[in-house]
Amino acid sequence: MSLLNAPTARRMRVTAVRSRNAASFRLMEMGLIEGAEVTVLRRAPLGDPMHVRVGDSELSLRNADAESIDVAPF
């Protein structure tokens, strides 16, 4: 399942980061890598971007970037 479609407030585990661009490298540097625990907290009022918790920190990332991150239930 892609992070884009992950249910809100459910602990998930990152299984793969499929894209190789500046945004995905930055997301990885901030801890969104294979094996990391991620929870979708909410989506912005207009549906995009999304607010996630990764490990101890909270990030905002766009739907387009979330689409290339695969997750599975924790």
Binding site: A22, R42, P45, D56
Partner: protein, 730 residues
């Protein structure tokens, strides 16, 4: 390294002066403060240096780096830009690596690094640390926000972490000075010269081998960036310094064959961090619900969050207009009024008194009066930033900013641009994508900065009726002011969209933003930002604006021919005018024949359809260096020979008439048009210089000035025509 010999071994406790004794060149030790954004880095810097920061622009890079001396020591601390990684995406991050490695001209490398890490987000903070350790300088770690970590039930064994890393780890709470002495003692007495390097991340073997083989890279940390950051600043610097492109390309081909990229580096580092923290960090079985989570529910809610954002922006605009009024009255009436009165009494009539009263006091006073508004605005922006709210605002508006082809990241520089475009254009460095950055820089001057306020305030208070609706809650003047702030935004969006579709077209960049824990803004830090902004404004008022005031006064005062005077006096005698009427007529004739008057008259055919005569044209021309100058220019042009204050100026403007018809010059429509013109024009030399410097292309400021002036002219004309059509002039 030789520079490290100036540092004490860790077992040598010493007095503050001892450091100099061991250093023959008597150069103070320099410690660079590095860390992720939102870790309390600036708070720690202020606490260590006693809020005495000296902001310096490094030559050639113009990123502000604050310097200060650690209290009670001779150690110099450098506050470097916050970053998540040494991989440089933005110019800020490039400065970090360059400063750490001593590659900034005229700046020696630091002797040691003070790394601040946020204990409540420890793994991610250790990512940057793992890169910083590879630079090879001694490192001390300040483990900040242990209180926040504790409140979440997270416990950290700092001595064990220190033991495993081989560097000192000092728990601190940057906001609590009582927790700092152990860190200061360590920095003063015992900068560690040693580090056990055994425990670094296990990068892929090929990467380590190629990194070691890269000639001309000063240290392993830089070599890694040269290899891995394909479009980054490090490879550019490497090639510029004479590094071999062939060797680099060959090395990169080998990495490509092995599928080794930044992702491999990230995995290796996080694997190391995982092993490092195993047994060091203990977490509660269930995460604790934090205040930040509760606040976020409200503040990023699609209804309540949007309402709060609208409320915040509304308070921002109303408050700078209303709260500052008493202070403004004090400055203009008491301070400048008495100065002008004093000078008028003390000096004989003539060029010197005119220069002092009409040039100096009126010019600088007319600008100083806006100091309260600027400081209030910067104070509010500081509160929004320090509390963490501004990141939530960026999160909520990202989708909207994308309509203009930008990201929520541009929201922060653009919001700052409502205070002043100059720092905002510098602030655009946080935007990693080059095209987004340039678009943001180019539309930032459309946001109504504090320098427009003088024009808005003068025109609004003089010509917009003081009416209230809904039982006094909504004022017409406030609405007009809000309209002026909105018009820049309304114009900026299509401009940004057009730029992104044409000259700056490219793939959409990502938007990755940390949403930090909410923090209570610290009064002293907010005050520091306010006073810095105020001091900056005063120094501008004292230099550029003062020079312009005198130049404008001279342009308006000279030439004064005896022929003009004789002609006016002859007319006066013939018509039987009294002395004050003669004097007024004389001043008007002098102004009309002055250099500025001639420029204004040359412009009059173009601006007459808007409802402006040559005097307004002359004032606009005179305000090219800085918009706020238009107020003092108007003062000089309209009230020569009076001891002008703002009320006098309003009166003089209201009394001004067209020379041919005798109708009032300023009406609701011509005043609105003037406000619209100043909302959209590029009358600010500092902004134009900054655009050139930050984009690295001097065609941008030229294009920016031409385009904005054209837009401002057309919009002013439309405003005047529509307002007249609607019967606003009565």
């Amino acid at each position: 390294m030789p520079s490290r010999s100036t540092l004490h071994p860790s077992d040598a406790p010493s007095a503050p002066s001892h450091h100099h004794a061991t250093n023959p060149r008597a150069a103070a030790a320099r410690i660079a403060l590095v860390g992720n954004p939102n870790t309390g880095k600036t708070t720690l810097f202020n606490a260590l240096t006693g809020f005495r920061r000296h902001v310096a622009n490094y030559p050639g890079v113009t990123v502000e780096v604050a310097h200060g001396t650690i209290t009670g020591t001779s150690v110099e601390l450098l506050d470097l830009p916050g970053s998540y990684s040494l991989a440089a995406n933005s110019p800020d991050e490039a400065v970090l690596l360059d400063a750490l490695c001593g590659r900034i001209p005229g700046q020696p490398p630091p002797d040691a690094i003070l790394a601040i890490v946020d204990a409540s987000v420890l793994p991610r903070n250790l990512y940057l640390l793992s890169q910083v350790l590879e630079i090879g300088l001694p490192v001390v770690i300040a483990l900040n926000m242990i209180d926040v970590a504790q409140s979440r039930g997270v416990a950290i064994d700092a001595p064990e972490l220190s033991h495993r890393l081989g560097v000192p780890v000092v728990p601190v709470v940057a906001t609590d000075p009582r927790t700092l002495p152990p860190l200061i003692d360590l920095l003063r007495a015992a900068l560690p010269g040693q580090r056990t390097a055994a425990s670094g991340p296990e990068l892929p073997a090929d990467l380590t081998r190629l990194r070691a083989a890269l000639p001309a890279a000063p240290n392993p940390a830089i070599a890694l960036r040269v290899l891995l950051d394909r479009d980054g600043a490090a490879p550019r610097a490497y090639l510029a310094a004479g590094g071999s492109r062939a060797a680099l390309d060959a090395a990169r081909r080998q990495l490509d064959d092995q599928h080794i990229d930044v992702a491999a580096e990230v995995r290796a580092r996080y694997a190391w961090i995982g092993r490092l923290l195993d047994g060091v960090v203990t977490r509660p079985p269930q995460p604790v619900t934090t205040w930040t989570a509760r606040l976020d529910w409200l503040l990023t809610h699609r209804v309540w969050g949007a309402l709060v954002l609208a409320l915040v922006l509304f308070v921002l605009f109303q408050s700078i207009f209303r709260w500052s009024q008493p202070l403004m009255d004090f400055i203009s009436d008491r301070l400048m009024g008495s100065l002008a009165a004093l000078a008028t009494v003390a000096l004989p009539e003539g060029a010197v008194r005119s220069l002092l009263v009409d040039g100096l006091i009126a010019g600088v006073g007319g600008v100083l009066v806006f100091l309260p508004q600027i400081m209030i605005l910067f104070g509010l922006i500081a509160i929004l930033e320090d509390s963490g709210y501004i990141a939530r605002a960026a999160f909520m508006v990202d989708r909207i900013m994308r309509a203009a082809g930008l990201s929520g990241r541009s929201f922060i520089p653009l919001l700052s641009s409502f205070a002043c475009a100059v720092p905002a254009i510098m602030g655009a460095r946080v935007i990693a994508d080059r095209r987004d950055r340039i678009v943001t820089i180019l539309i930032a001057p459309f946001m109504s900065c504090s320098a427009r306020l003088p024009v808005y305030v003068l025109m609004t208070s003089a010509f917009i009726p003081d009416r209230y609706f809904l039982g006094g809650w909504i004022g017409l003047r406030g609405l007009v002011m809000m309209g002026m702030y909105l018009i820049g935004v309304v114009v900026a969006i299509p401009v940004a969209w057009l730029l992104k579709k044409t000259v700056l077209a490219g793939p959409p960049p990502g938007f990755v933003l940390e949403l930090p824990t909410y923090k209570l803004p610290r009064l002293r830090a907010v005050w520091q930002r306010m006073s810095h902004a105020g001091a900056h404004f005063i120094s501008r008022a004292g230099t550029v604006i003062l020079a312009v005031s005198i130049a404008v006064w001279a342009l308006a005062y000279f030439p004064r021919s005896a022929t003009t005077e004789q002609r006016v006096r002859a007319t006066a005698v013939a018509a039987g005018w009294d002395e004050s009427r003669t004097d007024a007529a004389l001043q008007a004739e002098f102004a009309r024949h002055s250099f500025l008057g001639r420029i204004g008259r040359a412009l009059e055919p173009a601006i007459r359809p808007i409802g402006w005569d040559w005097r307004i044209g002359a004032a606009i021309v005179a305000s090219f260096p800085a918009r706020e100058v238009v107020v003092s220019s108007l003062g000089t042009i309209f009230s020569l020979g009076h001891d002008a204050d703002e009320a006098d100026l309003r009166g003089a403007l209201a009394a001004a008439t067209w020379s041919d018809s005798g109708r009032p010059l300023f009406t609701v429509s011509s005043a609105l048009a003037l406000m619209v013109f100043f909302a959209l024009c590029a009358q600010c030399a500092s902004t134009l210089v900054m655009i050139g410097r930050e984009t690295g292309n001097w065609l941008w400021p030229v294009a920016s000035f031409s385009f904005m002036t054209a837009v401002a002219y057309v919009a002013a004309l439309l405003t005047a025509v529509i307002a007249r059509g609607l019967g606003c002039d009565g």
